[in-house]
């Protein structure tokens, strides 16, 4: 007979090896190419910003959970992801203390106040960015040219989208970034030789990270495809350059790393499609008619609001039988 008491539990008795920290870790790995390239483009300050936001995010979560006497959750690595994501969507020369404050806001206000991991209604990193953008609009819209692309003055510059917003034609934007024509501007944007947020310069590297997550099954294709597809389509419908529009302003980064955030995107496939299309549409509308040149941040945050309702768009269950509606009594019968 057994030497000691047996473990009794309800089935199943077999479990996957995939855990929450492991999934978060794969997101961090997926962000490494874009992060490293950001540091390569903008130097030490970019590295410092990444470290500060990550440390601030982890410390904020740790201290807040301590304060409310709850279990420490920094072991799930989600705070690292939030901190890293925040750094990658900020201007490279964001003052470090602002980065730290943004990470604190993202973790404590946007996530922990709502109950922590999985319970937050808004994407924490984007909320952090929105908070900084509203509090320090000048600093968060001060952009830097990457090393070696010193066509404009070295300290500050405009993003491609900002230039277009100021009324520049794409050929002028191309010239500004030293590209010979619009075609090579597209290539330059794709490869990542332009001004912009720390981690979303190179669409190629962002895509590599995104495809890595897709291949691992950490994220699914519906959200990124619907975001990019609808941004493309609605840009075209509104007479904007669709290729330029999806290559700039973090559409691809947002589609793969922000809109796919588990807690804040719908769970059902149909809900995800509507969510993604909504983000693409809102982004284009903000760019066309709104006050911000990029629009992705607010588009995602606004669609986050719709998530609980979009979750009602469930897949038909197996063997679904439509309920038989009781026949309405005809008017004659009522009389």
């Amino acid at each position: 007979m057994p030497a000691k008491g047996m473990l009794l539990s309800s089935s199943p008795h077999s479990f996957t090896q995939i855990s929450t920290p492991r999934m978060m870790l794969s997101v961090i790995i997926a962000l490494i190419p874009a992060s490293v390239y950001g540091v390569y483009l903008y130097g030490f300050q970019a590295l410092a910003l990444i470290l500060v936001t990550v440390l601030s995010a982890v410390a904020s979560e740790y201290l807040f959970r301590k304060l409310i006497k709850a279990k420490t959750t920094i072991g799930d690595f989600s705070a690292i992801v939030t901190g890293l994501l925040l750094a990658l969507i900020l201007p490279p020369k964001t003052p470090l203390w602002m980065g730290a404050m943004g990470a604190f806001f993202a973790i404590v206000v946007a996530k922990e106040f709502f109950g922590g991991l999985g319970a937050n209604p808004f994407n924490p990193a984007l909320t952090g960015r929105a908070f900084l953008l509203m509090s320090f609009p000048a600093a968060i819209t001060t952009w830097t040219m990457p090393h070696g692309l010193a066509l404009a003055d070295a300290t500050s510059t405009a993003t491609p989208l900002a230039l277009v917003r100021q009324g520049a034609a794409l050929t002028d934007v191309a010239k500004y970034f030293g590209a010979s024509d619009v075609g090579s501007l597209y290539r330059q944007l794709f490869m990542g030789y332009r001004s912009g947020s720390l981690g979303e310069s190179s669409i190629l590297l962002v895509l590599i990270g995104g495809l890595f997550l897709l291949a691992l099954g950490v994220i699914q294709w519906i959200v990124p495809v619907s975001v990019i597809g609808s941004a493309f389509l609605f840009s075209w419908l509104l007479g904007m350059d669709p290729i330029f529009n999806i290559l700039t302003g973090g559409v691809v980064f947002g589609a793969f790393f922000m809109a796919t955030d588990y807690a804040t995107r719908p769970l059902t496939p149909a809900g995800q499609a509507v969510f993604g299309i909504g983000i693409g549409l809102l982004t284009v509308i903000i760019r066309k008619f709104g006050g911000f040149p990029e629009g992705v941040t607010y588009a995602i945050l606004i669609m986050n609001l719709a998530t609980p309702y979009l979750n009602k768009m469930r897949v038909k269950k197996y063997g679904f039988v439509p309920p038989v509606k009781p026949a309405k009594p005809s008017k004659e019968a009522v009389k």
Binding site: A3, S10, S11, P12, T16, V218, V315, K317
Partner: protein, 457 residues
């Protein structure tokens, strides 16, 4: 042949290597059996014997009136020692009849046969009613786990197009169906033919997962040489992808026919009857030999099992006695969890004195490494459960309804459709106890509905 499958599901580690190559061995000279009185899905039975009675092997020892009842038989000849509650394989106590083996005294130098079997019956000649009566009299239930009365399953009120032999054996570790298909392919084919005759189905399909490919040539040979197929019956093998829960009745039907069993309905609603491999062989024996269901094959394996085996044991044999007989062995020091059934849907029990029952497809002895148990963490809403759920009831959303007590919403999402396969709990990175919640939730929702129905009256 392309492998068919269903949408969703999971890929738990198969763990079948330990026992898949081992021939089935028969346990002999059992000293004592503990036979649970109730081993079927349905109304409870009454014992027909009393303490001190001598019973023959195959003698009916418990029965009751009613359609949803299946009698139980003595699995060895001997004396009824006790009738008392004992722990059964579902980890609940229930009435059991304990029989101690005893050879009868020779009368005039002649030892009377200790077997009390029925006369053989040709299912292809007798009427459908006779055949169903024989199946019930032989005590046959679905041997895959649920223990549903086979005579009820084979009396569908709708026309049947397909009889499906469930050779998927999608539960990890278990290999008894695989071994049965390899060692007794003729009986499997014959069982399909008998079922087809009873339900008047034009086609029989033996469904096998890809990880049991080596059984297919043997089955095909048995089909080709069967007198039934020569007489014109249509039976074929269908390959299926290796995926859990491919052997679930609904998933099997959908994979093969593309149809979905309607919510709240039965396989017959889409013209199918699904039979477990062991059940088919038991049916063959019931007709050919007149032998009731008094023994079954099972796999004994696991990380703490030092001698994995596929065994045929009398119903009621305490698993400890199979170990004592040397057919299998367990490392008691390493043993951390005992499961009757498979790792996905089986029941964890406190000891291995619990007997083999009609629905015991295996016994797993798990070691420290296998016997993991996780505390629940928070849902990160990753949606893995939503994609794994084979009946698409959005476990992540359903869990919220069940936890908050919103049973109206839970019913709408499909709580009562849950087949309790456990795929959601298996894939959850936060180790949420999803299917466990649904199991409890189903009971609560059923009680609520019953009360509502009573109040309506």
């Amino acid at each position: 042949m392309t492998a068919k499958t269903f949408r969703g599901g999971a890929h738990p580690p198969e763990q079948k290597d330990r026992s898949s190559g081992l021939a089935v061995e028969r346990l002999r000279d059992v000293k004592q059996v503990v036979i649970p009185v109730n081993q079927h899905f349905g109304a409870p039975l009454q014992p027909l014997v009393k303490v001190g009675d001598y019973v023959k092997r195959g003698q009916k020892i418990a029965d009751a009136d009613g359609r949803m009842t299946v009698p139980v038989h003595a699995s060895l000849a001997g004396i009824v020692k006790k009738i008392e509650p004992r722990t059964q394989s579902n980890n609940l106590d229930g009435p059991c009849i304990i029989i101690e083996a005893k050879q009868p005294e020779p009368v005039d130098g002649v030892v009377e046969s200790t077997d009390d079997f029925m006369p053989p019956l040709d299912p292809f000649v007798c009427s459908k009613e006779e055949a169903l009566a024989r199946i019930r009299a032989a005590g046959i239930v679905g041997m895959g786990g649920a223990g549903f009365p086979t005579h009820v399953k084979l009396a569908p009120s709708k026309p049947i197009s397909y009889v499906i032999a469930n050779g998927a054996e999608c539960e990890p570790y278990l290999t008894i169906d695989e071994r049965t298909m390899i060692e007794r392919p003729e009986d499997v084919v014959e069982g399909v033919a008998i079922t087809m005759k009873i339900v008047n189905a034009p086609e029989g399909i033996i469904a096998v997962e890809e990880n049991k490919m080596h059984a297919i040539p043997l089955l095909e040979k048995a089909i080709a040489s069967s007198p039934r197929t020569r007489a014109g019956m249509k039976i074929r093998v269908q390959l299926l992808k290796t995926k859990y829960p491919q052997g679930g009745e609904k998933m099997l039907i959908t994979a093969i026919t593309g149809k979905e069993v309607p919510s709240g309905g039965l396989p017959m609603d889409v013209g199918c009857v699904v039979q477990n491999i062991g059940t088919l062989c038991a049916m063959v024996e019931a007709f050919r030999d007149g032998k009731p269901l008094i023994e079954r094959g099972l796999t004994i394996t696991g990380g703490a099992c030092t001698k994995p085996a596929n065994v045929i044991a009398p119903i009621g044999t305490p698993v400890a006695d199979i170990i004592a007989a040397g057919l299998t062995a367990v490392d008691d020091e390493a043993l951390r969890r005992i499961i009757y059934g498979g790792p996905m849907m089986g029941v964890a029990v406190p000891n291995y004195a619990i007997p083999v029952q009609k629905n015991t497809s295996g016994v797993l002895f798990m070691n420290e490494e296998e016997a993991v148990h996780y505390e629940e963490e928070t849902c990160i809403r990753c949606g893995r459960c939503m994609r794994a759920c084979p009946i698409r009831i959005s476990p992540a959303l359903l869990a919220v309804s069940v936890e908050t007590g919103d049973y109206k919403e839970a019913e709408k999402i499909g709580l009562l459709d849950c087949i309790e396969c456990g795929s959601c709990s298996f894939v959850c990175p936060a180790h949420r106890h999803l299917v466990q919640k649904f199991r409890v939730g189903k009971q609560i929702l059923r009680t609520i509905k019953q009360k509502e129905a009573q109040n309506a009256r």
